[in-house]
């Protein structure tokens, strides 16, 4: 039985490179139409919040997808885990905080999770995705497709280990 994957992406499509997350989800959604053998649930929002803990709680694998203003490479993949941080106290949570809320409200360990960050540089209202970020998006999509093609924690860990 294939793993239940939650692909949770964030971003505002009208704020420049903040659209990288939604754009990746859009590509994944189109690709998944031809892959009925996979069990992937796509969740898109402007930003992460506490209710997303309920979205991820029952998954086998969780992949957070987002623009990353701190990335030094076109994209990066890392394993993450639940953690308390100060994002709990804002209008947007970190992926780690979402997992932590999932643990607290369900009383169970959250599912294994990874973060695919795509390097973004410009986030102005009304701006399109920058030329550089479009290149990053293409590379990140190749990575995402590879991950979805093999929804297995050990395989994802192996790819994350390369970063």
């Amino acid at each position: 039985m294939t793993a239940r994957v939650v692909l949770l992406g964030c971003g505002n499509p009208s704020r420049g490179d903040d659209a990288l997350g939604p754009d990746l989800l859009s590509r994944a959604g189109a690709w998944l139409i031809g892959r009925p053998d996979l069990d992937v649930r796509i969740v898109e929002d402007f930003q992460l919040q506490v209710e997303h803990a309920l979205d991820v709680a029952d998954a086998d694998l969780v992949l957070f997808v987002d623009a990353d203003a701190t990335a030094t490479t076109p994209f990066c993949l890392r394993r993450t885990k639940s953690s308390r941080d100060d994002s709990y106290t804002t209008h947007e949570l970190s992926p780690e905080a979402v997992l932590h809320v999932a643990r607290e409200v369900t009383g169970r360990d959250p599912p294994p999770a990874w973060v695919l960050g795509v390097r973004g540089e410009s986030f102005e209202l009304g701006a399109p995705v920058s030329v550089a970020a479009r290149g990053h998006l293409d590379l990140a999509w190749d990575e995402l497709r590879t991950l979805l093609d093999d929804p297995c924690a050990s395989a994802w860990d192996a790819r994350a280990a390369g970063w």
Partner: protein, 498 residues
Amino acid sequence: MTHLLETAAHPRALRRVAIEPLTRVEGHGKVTLLLDEQNRVHQARLHIVEFRGFEKFIQGRPYWEVPVLVQRLCGICPVSHHLAAGKAVDMLVGARTLTPTAEKVRRLMHQGQMLQSHALHFFHLASPDLLFGFDSEPARRNIVGVIAEHPELALQGVKLRKYGQEVIKAIAGKRIHGTACIPGGMNKALSEAERDVLRRDIGQMVAWSQGAVALCRRVLDASPHAPIFGVFPSNFMSLIRADGALDFYDGGLRAKDAQGNLIFDHVDYTHYNRHIHEEVKSWSYMKFPFIISLGDADGWYRVGPLARMNTADFLDTPLAEEARRAFRAAANDGMQHATLAYHWARLIEMLHAAEGIERLLDDPDITGTDLVAKGERALEGVGVIEAPRGTLFHHYKVDENDVVVRANLIVSTTNNNQAMNEAVRTVAASYLDGQKLTEGLLNHIEVAVRAFDPCLSCATHALGRMPLQVELVDAAGQVIDRMVKGADGVFAEGRDAP
């Protein structure tokens, strides 16, 4: 209501404390305090560097795109912008009166937004301050502390928020980027199946909301801070229904002064700019609205839950009305001016929204089929609603090609701009004079700002963009101390802090 502390007589001779940005507040905020040689607060300013470019974002677009487009102005309250824009666009197509189904479905969507927004704010942003006191350990103040000591509250908060979003999703088709409002009405009503799903849990949401009101009351009653923290007189403004009831979605504008006297009442909101003017100040990107008849020095006002509790004659749902009466009784039936009373008012509104949802789900119009009204085309439209954070204005002018040529938005946080500055000044003058800058003292200021639940970013949120920076700058402009709080919550101190 003068600005005694806003502009110091000799600012160059003052020390400067900058806090940037505020934690637990969306986006990028910075507080600057100018201290004199005796560390007395002479000047306080809340700088907000967002809210740029909204109008340009809208101009040049065909009007029918606008209700969907404006959802992208803000990741926190896209539904509020969607509804305000929808009302403005209704005017453009001559549909000042919607069909019963369209209006009730919009109201339902709005109540869902109110419920989810207020639930998040209370349970996950502000409640830690109230439950544990804002002098307590930072780790206990945040939601982790709440969950550890009140696990049932955390789960209720998450589920209340989720329920509000399910209401929105049922109407708009999805959580975000939905197309609920169309010119003159709604894209769809609720199906009977969708209504029945929402009916299943609404009783629980009402009960949890009622419990939250009671909890907030108990916490504030027990707090030594509540009666004295951030108390300052102000005017208040909100929409009001023709019979004086609170109305989140429609009505006329009512403003009261600090003593509760009417400044104006049942003003047609399409004429808002005859009564409200927006002042520009050189040190802030955000404008400062004021009531014209009172002038810029005395005409500023508060909006949002506290204002609505002070302006409304009654609430038309029984449990919330009972709570409102208790709220007003606590102020001897006068105007409630305490900053922390915002939280109590917000929870009463959450209960009112839950009751409102329950009532609308029992209304047969909610599953109706008559969704769109039409009328005579116009070239100008104004839409005003009471968003979770306060009164929200959208004003558009279009040309004969249906393209928006002018847009003016006054968002809720802008309406509260001067009031938030006043809160900072009041708290700083009370708690920071002559004291060393500490995290606990800074949090007093943040508590005051957070009470307004300001939405400062309308926002990008990409990973790694939420630092907190505190600088102490002497009269010569030199940084003499620095405090940096990273996205991981770790503090670094000293001039060489990253």
